[in-house]
Amino acid sequence: MLFSSLMLYISLFVALFFEVFLLITYFEIREEIKFEEKHNGKDLTNYPSVTIIVPCYNEESTVASTIRSLLSLQYPKDKLKLIVVDDGSTDNTQKSLEEFTHHPQIQTFKKENGGKHTALNFALERVDTELVGCLDADSFVEPEALKRIVGFFTDEATMAVTPSIKIHEPISVLQHVQKVEYNWGIFLRRVLSSINGLYVTPGPFSIFRTRIFKEIGGYREAYLTEDMEMALRMHRNHYKIVNSHNAYVYTVAPSKLSDLYKQRVRWAYGFLNNAVDYRDMYFNKKYGNIGIFVLPIATFSVFSTLYAAGNALWSIFSKIPDALTRYQAVGFAWNFNAPHFSVDWFTFNTGITAMITYTTIILSLTLLYLALALAEGKVRLKKDVLYYLTIYILIVPLWLAKATYSTLARKPITWR
């Protein structure tokens, strides 16, 4: 009981601390964000050469649109190259690529299937531009995205720039849930960027200085989360990663729970295993905020979420013996009175835990409001927010539990 209360208080304190930290940082950088929104990408005078790698595996339905969105980028054509690598697709991806075979800006390759990281490394060997990036073949870029990203490379210390990712045309309930989740991610990335705390350089449209791959090597398999491992490796080498919050990339989100579950198990499993591989960075001042704050709190959040979900499940299951006792005593002859709504404060839970939980929820909603305002411009209470608030907390523990189990049991996971 004492352990349980202690765990609860620690979890709540850390959650509250994280929220307060985000809020303080956000208010610190608010003017900076406004300035970026006004000027970013508009006063660019120097256009460095860029190669965008498009690795694809069985992406026949989306790859052509992905390439067309890249060709529509507002960027000098002689400065932009595309390398499309078909990583041994077994569908009609090759056929979809045929229309681009002779395009002057595009090189297409086909290789044996070896995983995304091999496709990226295959292309990296052929890159001769100053900057290089990647775009997953199920994602699309906004025309201004590259200009907005490139603007950040005027700072010589910046080695990689990540975009803001949004959900492409959400239809299903789960896609709407992810839309809000990604909008929250936009806010989080921008805040973490200001403390050099980005621990993922996402597959969709993160742009790097090409030389870093020569200095620290190419992509690794990294438990199928090569984009996370690359970011951690960059931090280990004290490279700066920043975020361009208004460089938008759209990605197709899983519409079914089974697909979302697989994707998120992969992400969470990748995070936990990469965290183990990079454990020397934890609480290590040498690595700045990412070592002192971001990685520990991200890891803590995985376990505190699981703990909270376990507690909630326990409280549900612990009611079963009581229900059985009741059934044994009186069968189904229960008195189902209409719910009694009382506004009497006496019935309101005012315990210490409850009070701190209310405060944490209020702060979470405030942060969500700021996140939606940053990502969408203005906030309207629409169905996607309601879906997010009601569904998201129920499904997150599913993949966290599976990823934690697979990590502890050393059971590797697969891409699909």
């Binding site: 307060v20 006792t325 009186v330 404060w345 005012t350």
Partner: protein
């Protein structure tokens, strides 16, 4: 390099929020205790009122004493007692005090109702239910459900529940009047003691007073059904 000032600032704000939450929680706990005290005051007044009503019983007509003033407060108090037990803890002195007062109120109501019904020639059924919260009564929870279901079936039934181990002289006296042993759960139905868990059907079958209530209820239902059928035929 990490900005340690920001971490300290965030930590301090978090600590202040935590401290405020604890303060507000304590404030409401105190307010709840005050509310409990005001309930206790009301009970004292109710007890006095019931004593007066009891004394006046010989002078009043049955019509005017159909219900006791205390009965009205019992339901509300029972609910508040459960909430206070849950939020302030069952061992909280003010909660224990409230429980004692509640038990006294029940006994008073029981005595008053017994006198009223005796004077007016009614034959009500009273159940005194003795339970324990100290882990020595595995069937008490089940028995509680049975009594709730029983009350739902017979709304006029008067059930009074008492913590067998409550340190209150009146409850001790009640136990000794009916010669109750510590075999729990224990029921006293119209002065006859019954020990151990009693399933709903068996309780109704085995306890004559409840069997009479059931028969009366069945007769009333049959009469209603006949009246409805006759009225439809017309």
């Amino acid at each position: 390099m990490p900005d340690s000032r920001k971490y300290i600032f965030a930590f301090l704000i978090t600590a202040v929020i935590f401290g405020t939450a604890i303060f507000v929680s304590n404030y409401f706990s105190q307010k709840r205790i005050n509310a409990i005290q005001s309930i206790e005051d009301r009970i004292s007044l109710d007890i006095l009122a019931s004593e007066t009503q009891y004394a006046l019983l010989q002078e009043t007509s049955c019509k005017n004493t159909a219900t006791s003033t205390l009965s009205k407060d019992l339901g509300d108090l029972s609910q508040k007692l459960s909430i206070a037990e849950e939020q302030n803890g069952a061992d909280d002195p003010s909660v224990l005090n409230l429980k004692k007062q509640y038990s006294l109120l029940e006994i008073k109501d029981y005595l008053l109702m017994k006198s009223i019904t005796a004077k007016c020639g009614n034959r009500p059924t009273f159940i005194l239910y003795f339970y324990s919260n100290e882990g020595d009564c595995p069937d008490c929870q089940k028995m509680g459900y049975v009594l709730t279901a029983l009350h739902d079936t017979f709304p006029d039934l008067r059930i009074y529940s008492f913590d067998f181990n409550l340190d209150l002289e009146a409850v001790h006296t009640l136990r000794s009047i009916y010669g109750l042993s510590a075999t729990l759960p224990a029921l006293v139905v119209n002065s006859d003691p019954y020990y151990g868990f009693q399933p709903l059907d068996e309780l109704i079958k085995d306890v004559p007073a409840l069997a009479r209530l059931k028969a009366a209820l069945d007769r009333a239902r049959a009469a209603t059904s006949t009246a409805t059928t006759t009225s439809k035929k017309k």
